[in-house]
Amino acid sequence: MTTKQDKTIKDLKKGETGTVLKLTGGRGYVARLAALGFTFGAQVTVLRKPSKGPILVGIRGTQIALGQGEADGISISRLDENAFPAKEAATETFRIALAGQPNVGKSTVFNLLTGLNQHVGNWTGKTVEQKSGSFVRNGTAYSIVDLPGTYSLSANSEEELIARDFILKERPDLVVAVVDAATLERSMYIVAELLLLNSPVLLALNMMDVAKGEGIKVEPKVLETALGIPVVPMAASHGEGIAELQEAIEGMVRHGAEYHPSLPVILPAHKPVLDEIERMVSPYVPADYPSDWVALKLLEGDERLSSSMKEQMPEAEWKAMDALIYQHEDAVLDVAGARYQWIGRMVRAAVVEPPVSRMGLTAKLDRWLTHPFIGTIALIAMLAGVFALTFSIGGPIQKYLGDLVAALGDGIRAGLSGQPRWIGEFLAGGVLNGLGMVLTFLPILAIFYLALGLLEDTGYMARAAYLSDRLMHGMGLHGKSFMPILLGFGCNVPAVLGTRIIESKKARIQTALMVPFVPCSARLAVIAVLAPIFFGGAAFWVTIALVGANLLILFALGLILHRAAFEDEHVAFIMELPLYHLPNFKTIGIYVWQNLAGFLKKAGSVILLASLAVWAVSYFPTGEISTSWLGTLGHALEPVSSLIGLPWQVFVALLTSFAAKENTIATLAVLYGDISTALPSVVSLPAAASLLAFQLLFVPCVGTIAAIRQETDSLKWTVFSVVLMLVLSFGVSFAIYSVGSLF
């Protein structure tokens, strides 16, 4: 071929054609021209060339007007009229596409192949960056286009569409599929798809150094035999394998190396359908598209191709084909499944994984921590540890703060002795005792959340969820029910809202009815404050026993509801268990703070208002509790409260937990002042146990009830939930008090 080099488009006459060699100008200018299609190897024909003004050229099927200066910046090789025919001349500039997943070192391979001879722009009409370049080997030019990194060619994203359209429409002479040898399985899906298109494929097996470092042995020759396409091992980051890649490219496109790819096998059951679809679409398939590929993609449910073919085909034929595809809508599972099977076969042949699992510590720990028996014991020990930490550190601090609040109250009363009595009582008895006592929860909650945050951030909580599902499964609770129930340990409100993920209405109602029986953090905090007041050093064990009994009731209820009223919903999970890792204290700090901030917000609103209301009805109209409005109501309730061994004041405090669970403490503080000293003298030990059980099982807060109403969409089930909890809380407390009083 004879060419006259160092010419520009401006040197071409009307009707002459040249091949773009390079662009001259600033980076932005070059990028703009490249985006218009003026990349290495592109054929450009002058359509109109006035002596002044823009030159009209044809390139890549479109017409573009170039200024005289612009045309002078595009160097070309002109096709001499005495040279070989244009078609043959064009084959001397081979076009290569680089394809592959993101992060497999594709850009490094591109840079090494092209050196500085590259252009950056955008794909025409897209915001996706296009990089193209070239290299020359043995006198032959190769233009390289770096396709966007994609996981497949399913047109799920703009990048995938660009990559597949380029291969289909531009028909490069070769596609170099770059894969990561260290994660070969993950890189191969796109290769399985590339092999179905109309350009030959060469595999650049990159990152061999990384694979070797991880003890993974990859056999390029075995892979080559299995795939039936050339495989070039590379370590592009070290510049290794580039010369071999260039040689293989040359061998493929210039010398026609052997190419017999092994393709994923479509199930025989789908072959007739596939053939039928191909028969129906083939008259209408665009010229660039292989009809067997179009048929396969339509069977896979490719929306882009589907809408394109809908436009191309007569309506009746389209409808017939669409109905056929609809009948086989799950065929995609077999088509994609065959690719995974193919990947497995290829990788098993060529890759030897190290004998020892790379997960190391995680795998070793999980052998025990996810074991059905040992793991369950560990889970119980872990949760007991959280309680122990809360009691041993948070308890004493809370008691100190409680004493401080009581002393402050006395100080306020003394300081305001000259003022009307109700002012001092309002500030000390209402605001300080109510809100102040609740604020003394902060250390307990901080430790509780810190411990949970640690378990979450180290990766253990995922194991707890995994084990819990197994436990609950054994107790008649299945699948999606267990997650809202776990969520309930934090707060029942989002847990009830989380039941929305359960499609079956019956299972959703069953779970929503069970969630309020999960002891939420607010209930647990109240128990953590009250238990030491009555049980001192034994508080930890009493709490463990009560929470354990609470969970048994929860599971028993699950079984009963499941058997009596609700259907069995079988749902399986594959639960990701993240690697164990050292905790990040900033993350945990944020988690603790977010939860404490939420608590403070609640304390400053719902709890404060409820405390003030309780104070008002316990002070007015006489200034004495026993003769106040609340006292009158309390005395009326005494026949009921005495059944579970509680003074009416304590019973009323429990009832106020309907607004928010923490209100039990706030009300007790309003009514008794220093609860640490007052309560043990008015509540016996059996009554104390009954009180704690009542606190755990009583009707949930108003927010949870509203959520139950919303999610069950049923007043009947909402009332059932409230009545069920009332009956159970009272019944269990009565039983505890009655039995305890016998000793």
Partner: protein
């Protein structure tokens, strides 16, 4: 291969990725990819994420994740629990 995974998810119980991969005779990496494919096709979903989203408004109302074991999802790194969607269950039932 995806059919086998669909059948596994249409059964009962919780599996770790290691267990599931071993049952299907594939590597964990392939299992991850197959799960992602089922999610992309609408046959499966990350139920933990779906629940975190459903509970999100409630969590906001109560001022935080409040000890939620799935709280990590709100911060972008929590437990993933793949399960079938209604479409997936229908496909599994069709066989």
């Amino acid at each position: 291969m995806l059919r086998e995974l669909l059948s596994l998810l249409a059964g009962d119980g919780a599996f770790s990725p290691d267990e599931a991969a071993s049952k299907l005779g594939v590597s964990v990496a392939t299992l991850d990819d197959m799960l992602a494919k089922l999610v992309a096709l609408g046959y499966a979903e990350d139920a933990a994420k779906a629940m975190a989203c459903a509970a999100g408004n409630g969590a906001k109302k109560t001022g935080g994740c409040a000890g939620c074991p799935m709280a990590g999802h709100c911060h972008g790194a929590g437990t993933k629990a793949w399960t079938l969607t209604a479409k997936g269950r229908e496909a599994a039932a069709r066989g």
